[in-house]
């Protein structure tokens, strides 16, 4: 029994290795994906390793001297509120990532479920879900987010992720539904149905594995969209109040006219980190789109 399992495992190992190697080769062959992953990896490293080099307590207000330009002591200077900008970046970056991934995940999970149900069952259920999707799609998310954010007194990173997630399921739902519509008519799905498999099993075992790449691509897109929405809220001063986030830093810099006071080290670093983040997500997302939709691969 044990040896049998071991033998099966050892047979699977080379396959896994080959898959991994093929994956690595694909990444190496696709400069877009490689560059995107490097950018995101750098931010992740900053978030994970930063706290061991920088005193994160200096991210709190009035913990250091105010308005100091970059120096050996504070490599990115300090703000008018007495925060060390580098510490703010180290604390704020993971919060932004966490919010985006959380919102993206919830949004995609919601969207994939709705897309699967709508595409598989069709008929009235599909009609109801599709109409709801189209309706919510026409509502500008920032408008709703602002009203919600203005009403919620204490905003936390998790709260914000949840609110944003509730407005980011539509695109995944649409894409997945379209894909399921065509998968539903595949011979192997017909076979499964003839074999008497339950709907749930057909959806999860026959259809789901085939939409995973698409779901993964939607996830990157949804995460990017969620971060965009979150940063927008933060820059408007509607973000989480307790944690110093990147967008919030830009908000304070704006409020205290850091720009015309020449305090470039206050607002430029968070902007650059955000640019690296968005470009990284964009590259990964574009590469994944090409993976899912090979027709795009030929050009550019």
């Amino acid at each position: 029994m044990e040896t049998n399992r071991l033998r099966r495992l050892s047979a699977a190992l080379p396959l896994l290795l080959r898959r991994l190697r093929a994956g690595a080769a694909y990444i190496a062959r696709t400069p877009k994906l490689l560059l995107g992953l490097i950018l995101l990896g750098a931010l992740l490293a900053l978030a994970l390793l930063g706290p061991s080099f920088v005193d994160v307590n200096d991210a709190k207000s009035i913990s250091v001297g105010t308005n100091k330009p970059p120096s050996a002591e504070y490599p990115l200077g300090t703000t008018s509120g007495g925060r060390d900008v580098l510490a703010v970046i180290v604390v704020g970056t993971p919060q932004t990532l966490k919010m985006g991934v959380l919102a993206g995940f919830i949004g995609v999970a919601l969207g994939v479920s709705l897309g699967l149900i709508a595409g598989y069952y069709g008929g009235r259920i599909d009609m109801a879900i599709s109409t709801a999707t189209d309706t919510v799609l026409t509502i500008p998310p920032l408008a709703i987010l602002l009203v919600v954010a203005a009403s919620v007194r204490t905003m936390s990173v998790e709260n914000m992720a949840l609110i944003i997630a509730l407005l980011s399921w539509m695109f995944p739902a649409r894409t997945i539904r379209a894909q399921v519509l065509s998968l539903r008519e595949q011979p192997y799905v017909h076979m499964a149905r003839l074999a008497g498999l339950s709907d749930i099993r057909i959806i999860f075992e026959e259809i789901m594995p085939n939409i995973l790449p698409l779901a993964a691509a939607s996830f990157v897109g949804a995460t990017s969209g969620a971060i965009l929405a979150g940063i927008g809220l933060e820059v408007l001063g509607m973000g989480p109040q307790r944690t110093p986030t990147l967008g919030m830093t830009i908000y304070w810099a704006q409020l205290y006219s850091a720009l015309i006071r020449g305090l470039w080290w206050w607002w430029l670093p968070p902007i650059l980190v955000l640019i690296v983040l968005f470009v990284g997500l964009f590259l990964v997302s574009a590469a994944m789109d090409e993976f899912v939709n090979p027709r795009l691969r030929r050009t550019g």
Binding site: T138, P140, L146, V148, V235, L236, L259, I275, V279, T299
Partner: protein, 332 residues
């Protein structure tokens, strides 16, 4: 069939509008406290002395003024009918100014700035995107357009801040913000127009630079599909000139889905503007919303939000109604 399509679209439009109004009604009321209480709280936080009988009277008077003493369903129905008649109530911080008056004053600036920059980036982006998919395009196109595609991932207001710093603060070439120089009175002459253009340049540039790539990306995708069509092969076989095939056969057909996206983009222009207007102190709708949020002016926030949702809903409706005229295949 045609009628059913139109009716379905119209029904959907009204559902969106009523849904938007309803959300506007519900969401602020889910929060603890009421708007008047919030204003009082704000006053207390700022150190104003409140309390006593006079306060209760004032609160009661204000509650009656804003209809907050009525049962919820009466408030809802009144809110709905008022909103649909575009009576958006009084601004709390600029009382007795009406919300719609402030909106009407801000709207031209937003529409002017954003519609124009959206159209510019649409035209440039679509052309470059089409060139990218075109096999006989100059090689340089494939080198510089991807740069704009990457740039399209950057939020325009972040780029705006950087541009503002470089061109307005360091080089002092362009003004730091606003829609026209302070002290000048808006009127229709050349000087004022030039002043407005000078002020609009940076916000417009940040929008154009970050959205050209988006249009190029979309156009390239459709163009690749169109280039595989049989009628293109036929056009080439007929020996038509390259330029004619490119503009008349390929680009013309590929533009169709782009036009849909353009109409939607023009509708979302106002909601996308919020941040760019905040960064550049541009007196449009976004700036109005930002100030209303900062001063907890609920009615103003609701009014602006409703206006934003309405513009998107209208533009999507217009697209859906016009689309069958542009592309007869839809009608089937």
């Amino acid at each position: 069939m045609k009628q059913a399509y139109f009716i379905r679209r119209l029904v959907m439009f009204f559902v969106v509008v009523i849904l938007a109004a309803t959300l506007n009604f519900i969401i602020p009321r889910l929060a603890p406290g009421d708007p008047i209480g919030a204003v009082l709280e704000e006053l207390r936080a700022r150190g104003a002395s409140t309390g006593g009988d006079a306060e209760d009277e004032i609160v009661a008077a204000y509650r009656a003024r804003f209809g907050l003493d009525q049962p919820v369903y009466v408030q809802y129905l009144r809110f709905l009918t008022n909103t649909l008649r575009f009576d958006l109530g009084y601004s709390i911080s600029y009382y007795p100014q009406k919300v719609e008056a402030a909106l009407l004053r801000a709207l031209p600036w937003t529409v002017g700035l954003l519609a124009l920059s959206t159209l510019i980036s649409f035209a440039c982006g679509s052309f470059f995107g089409a060139l990218m998919a075109w096999p006989r395009a100059p090689a340089s196109v494939n080198r510089f357009v991807p740069f704009f595609m990457v740039l399209s991932a950057v939020p325009y207001y972040l780029l705006g801040l950087i541009l503002l710093y470089i061109f307005a603060f360091v080089m002092r070439l362009l003004p730091l913000g606003g829609a026209y120089s302070s002290g000048t009175i808006p009127r229709l002459d050349l000087d004022f127009l030039l002043d407005v253009i000078r002020h609009g340049m940076l916000p417009a540039l940040s929008i154009v630079l970050t959205s050209v790539g988006f249009w190029a990306l979309g156009m390239r995708g459709v163009m690749v599909t169109v280039l595989g069509e049989d009628y293109l092969t036929l056009a080439e076989a007929k020996g038509l000139p390259d330029r004619r095939i490119f503009f008349g056969y390929a680009m013309r057909n590929a533009l169709l889905p782009q036009v849909t996206a353009l109409a939607i983009a023009l509708g979302t222009v106002a909601s996308g503007a919020v941040l760019v207007e905040v960064v550049f102190n541009y007196p449009g709708i976004g700036w109005l919303l930002y100030n209303a949020l900062r001063s907890s002016d609920y009615y103003m926030v609701q009014g602006v939000t409703f206006c934003l949702i309405l513009t998107v809903a209208v533009s999507v409706l217009v697209v859906d109604l016009i689309y069958p005229l542009l592309d007869p295949r839809i009608e089937r």
